[in-house]
């Protein structure tokens, strides 16, 4: 009996030891690259090395494909090139196009292209590729291409000569060069012609051919995409040997792997782990401005929300700074209107601001006729209590933010029921059917102050989800879209921001900053958001 007792114990012990032994072996392989280089090494950029970037799902190597989401964008902007790219000041700067100009009436845009660009398969890039990409893919309504909505005003793209194209417009769009820098890369006509661009999986899923500074080396579904330097790149040849994108669905893993040196750079979406990363050696977190704004909306097709005092009251009721500090860990600025501080030339905070002031919120509600007459803690009007159905999609920190917003609204006497639903169901209710009362989300837009798509009355069927209508704002937005002079636009958008802040088509919450996590040995990354910095990946280098 005793003997078998020992046998049992020893089996247990053996398994523990075995486990520990295995683990010990692991230690020796994973602890590396911990060296502090306080000394010299001001050697500057040099060739070699690779960076690893996390993506959350398998990519689609086609920037226009409806299934190409964020995980594809970060690869496609390295593999392919657009006519323009975001400059280091975010204003559109040359890429495949060297310069561009608009006709006097703004109805014709001419783009002059580089003549020294080769596709990764050796074919020459020409104006035909640009015309094909737009006429056959982006402007083909039946395809429903990504980002096609930015080009609704484009009638067609004409080839003038081998290296000149003309965009023919229905009405002027001052933001066109900015739109052309935003996930609208050019794809090769010689491969796509005659194929359904969505069905061409040999390209979209296997061997993409681009013009970018890196080309595809290998791709394993569910694992990784490896790009290698394109030595025939038309710009500065890249310094890095390879760029590896690792498919890692879980954000916790991203944190674990950048701490262990297996990843190089990414934008941290969930800031819960921020403390931990900030404490770690060899890794830096920096805030970067982006062109995004978070918003709370009420459906203005519902009568009670058409009263601007109600919208103002809602905004006064919310302690936005506390939410920024709690959920965003300080990575955000309170928003007053839609134009983000990243657009330095246009941004202003000299507008009506809504401090956290629950008493003022109650006053405004009372002015609008909403008072708590029956003493149940909920304001009412004509015997109707103020009930709000608050629908959000489950993604990122939307749930956390919305729970806090709900609590603040409850405090001023609103009966808010929060309903967090799966993303697609939310899209169906809020975006497709417009069957909602209140929602919370964010917009990201190209680096241009033209926000017509989000609040112009003619986009009510499109992205103007709150269904806001204001002839005055429409006029300003139209003027801004048509003015080609920057100074003139500045004046227009200053007025527009003032009007937005007074009227609150959206209840602007904050402009989030991106928390960019980067290992210290990765250098040469310009001070841009992670997504924009990828346009300059040929300048990145590793300093050991």
């Amino acid at each position: 009996m005793k003997k078998s007792k020992w046998k049992f114990l020893s089996t247990l012990l053996l398994s523990v030891v075995l486990l520990a032994a295995c683990s010990y072996g692991g230690e020796s392989t994973t602890t590396s690259g911990e060296k502090e280089d306080g000394s010299s090494s001001a050697s500057g950029p040099k060739k070699g090395g690779k960076v690893s970037i996390p993506i959350v799902a398998d990519p689609t190597f086609n920037p226009w494909h409806p299934n190409a989401y964020a995980e594809s964008n970060v690869i496609n902007r390295v593999l392919f090139s657009g006519l323009t790219q975001p400059g280091k000041d975010l204003a559109p700067s040359p890429d495949l196009a060297t310069k561009w100009e608009a006709s006097e009436d703004g109805l014709e845009w001419t783009f002059y292209l580089r003549d020294d660009v080769l596709w990764h398969d050796g074919e020459k890039f020409t104006a035909e590729d640009v015309a094909y990409t737009f006429n056959e893919i982006a402007l083909n309504k039946e395809l429903g291409a990504n980002n096609a909505s930015y080009f609704q005003k484009v009638k067609e793209v004409q080839v003038v000569d081998d290296f000149t194209v003309k965009f023919m417009m229905e009405s002027p769009v001052a933001a066109l060069p900015a739109y052309l820098s935003f996930n609208t890369e050019i794809v090769p006509k010689h491969i796509f012609e005659g194929n359904d661009p969505w069905e061409l999986t040999s390209f979209n899923k296997k061997t993409p051919v681009g013009t970018g500074s890196f080309k595809l080396k290998s791709y394993t579904s569910g694992q990784s995409v490896v790009l290698e330097r394109n030595d025939d790149y038309y710009g500065e040849t890249a310094l890095l040997d390879e760029v590896e994108y690792k498919v890692l669905a879980d954000a916790n893993t991203h944190v674990a792997q950048i701490l262990s040196g297996e990843l190089s750079i990414f934008a941290l979406d969930d800031l819960a782990a921020l403390d931990r990363i900030e404490k770690a050696k060899g890794v830096t977190v920096e805030g970067r401005e982006t062109t995004r704004f978070f918003w709370l909306i009420v459906n203005q097709q519902v009568e009670k929300y058409q009263d601007v005092r109600v919208r103002q009251a809602l905004l006064h009721a919310i302690d936005r700074q506390n939410i920024i500090d709690t959920v965003l860990k300080g990575y955000g600025t309170i928003a007053d209107a839609g134009i983000a501080p990243a657009l330095k030339e246009y941004y202003t905070d000299d507008v009506t601001r809504y401090e956290y002031d629950p008493e003022r919120a109650k006053e405004l509600l009372a002015e609008a006729g909403w008072k708590d007459t029956d003493g149940d803690g909920i304001v009412d009007k004509d015997g109707e209590p103020f009930k709000i159905d608050f629908e959000i999609g489950i993604q990122g920190d939307l749930e956390a933010v919305s729970q806090m917003v709900q609590q603040y609204l409850v405090k001023v006497g609103l009966d808010v029921k929060l309903n967090a639903m799966e993303w697609n169901t939310m899209i169906q209710d809020v975006v497709v059917n417009r069957d909602y009362e209140m929602s919370l989300n964010w917009w990201r837009y190209p680096a241009d102050p033209d926000l017509s798509a989000y609040m112009h009355s003619n986009s009510i069927k499109g992205m103007n989800i709150p269904a806001y209508q204001n002839a005055e704002l429409d006029k300003l937005l139209d003027a801004g879209a048509q003015a080609s002079d920057v100074e003139e636009r500045k004046g227009i958008y200053l007025d527009a921001q003032k009007l937005m802040a007074d009227e609150l088509p959206y209840m602007f919450l904050w402009y989030p900053q991106e928390a960019q996590v980067r290992v210290d040995k990765l250098k040469g990354v310009p001070e841009l958001s992670f997504g924009d910095a990828l346009h300059y990946i040929h300048e990145w280098y590793i300093e050991e």
Binding site: A251, N252, V255, A272, A273, L274, D275, V327, Q403, N419
Partner: protein, 297 residues
């Protein structure tokens, strides 16, 4: 004449059932772990269901002290990532979690007993159809269906309960089926049958009461499984959604804080484990206590 036999039989059954109950509790008392689990569960339910009336903090309200505050007299377990009282959330979350477990158990008992009893009692076509369905349901990895169903149909508490119940009634059906077959042969049932009682009446009045002990065992184990399933679907973000707290979604939420505030995950995880453990021990204890071999020993 007919009437008297019937009363005789029923009273006989009643006496028998009473005896059985007594011995059951006595036998259970001999199994210390199971007996302790029983008491623990009683205390746990009292705490979770009565507790919120004493500890009146609102589990959804943002507290003055802010987020991730450590423990204090006002907030014995501190506050969570948004600044809510963790103790209140544990109490309210436990309420929801245990209620979901109980409701899912009741619902699956209903289905399982119906299917099992009908199959065993009526035999023939009913038997083969019902039991083939049961086997088929057991043979497929039903978590895939739970997942697909909740993703596409939404995650209201009712939906969560129904989906869990629909994926866990099969074991009960099998047990009830076996028991029904056994009890169908007993004299008092045959007597009732001969006296011309309706089948439904025989089933509900004579057979099902006999099966109740087995149903209790299955039910206890089903609660344990249901709580675990609820927490698993919460982990995938498909359970009951915040702001309503459940131990499962508290645990899921704590995942992102695994680096900076691991305590947020340890509490609900431990609570789930202990509750499930107690239900499992109790279920095992009850089963042993009902096992005829127990007597021989």
């Amino acid at each position: 004449m007919e009437a008297s036999t019937q009363t005789n039989v029923t009273s006989g059954v009643a006496v028998k059932a009473k005896k059985r109950k007594n011995t059951l509790l006595n036998r259970l008392r001999q199994n210390k772990v199971a007996y302790f689990s029983l008491w623990f569960l009683i205390v746990l339910h009292v705490v979770v269901f009565i507790g919120p009336f004493i500890w009146t903090a609102n589990p959804e309200e943002l507290q003055e002290v802010g987020a991730l505050a450590s423990w204090s007299l006002q907030h014995p377990f501190g506050t969570d990532d948004l600044g809510r009282d963790v103790f209140a959330r544990m109490l309210h979350g436990g309420r929801v979690t245990l209620l979901v477990g109980l409701a899912a158990m009741l619902f699956s008992l209903l289905i399982g007993t119906f299917v099992g009893a009908c199959a065993g009692f009526f035999g023939k076509v009913v038997e083969s159809i019902f039991m083939r369905i049961t086997e088929a349901m057991m043979a497929i990895p039903n978590f895939f269906f739970v997942l697909v169903a909740l993703t596409v149909l939404g995650t209201s508490p009712i939906m969560v309960i129904v989906v869990i119940a629909l994926s866990s009634w099969m074991e009960i059906a099998r047990v009830v089926y076996g028991e029904t077959l056994k009890w169908k042969e007993y004299e008092f049932v045959e007597a009732a049958n001969a006296s011309g009682a309706k089948s439904m009446r025989i089933l509900t009045r004579y057979i099902i009461p006999q099966i109740i002990p087995s149903i209790i065992v299955s039910g206890t184990l089903t609660i344990a499984a249901a709580i675990l399933t609820e927490s698993a679907i919460s982990y995938l973000g498909l359970g009951i959604q915040p702001p309503t707290p459940t131990w499962g979604n508290m645990l899921q939420n704590s995942q992102q804080y695994i680096w900076t505030a691991p305590v947020l995950g340890i509490l609900p995880g431990a609570a789930i484990t202990i509750a499930v453990l107690a239900y499992n021990f109790l279920g095992d204890g009850l089963r042993d206590a009902l096992d005829p071999r127990f007597v021989k020993k």
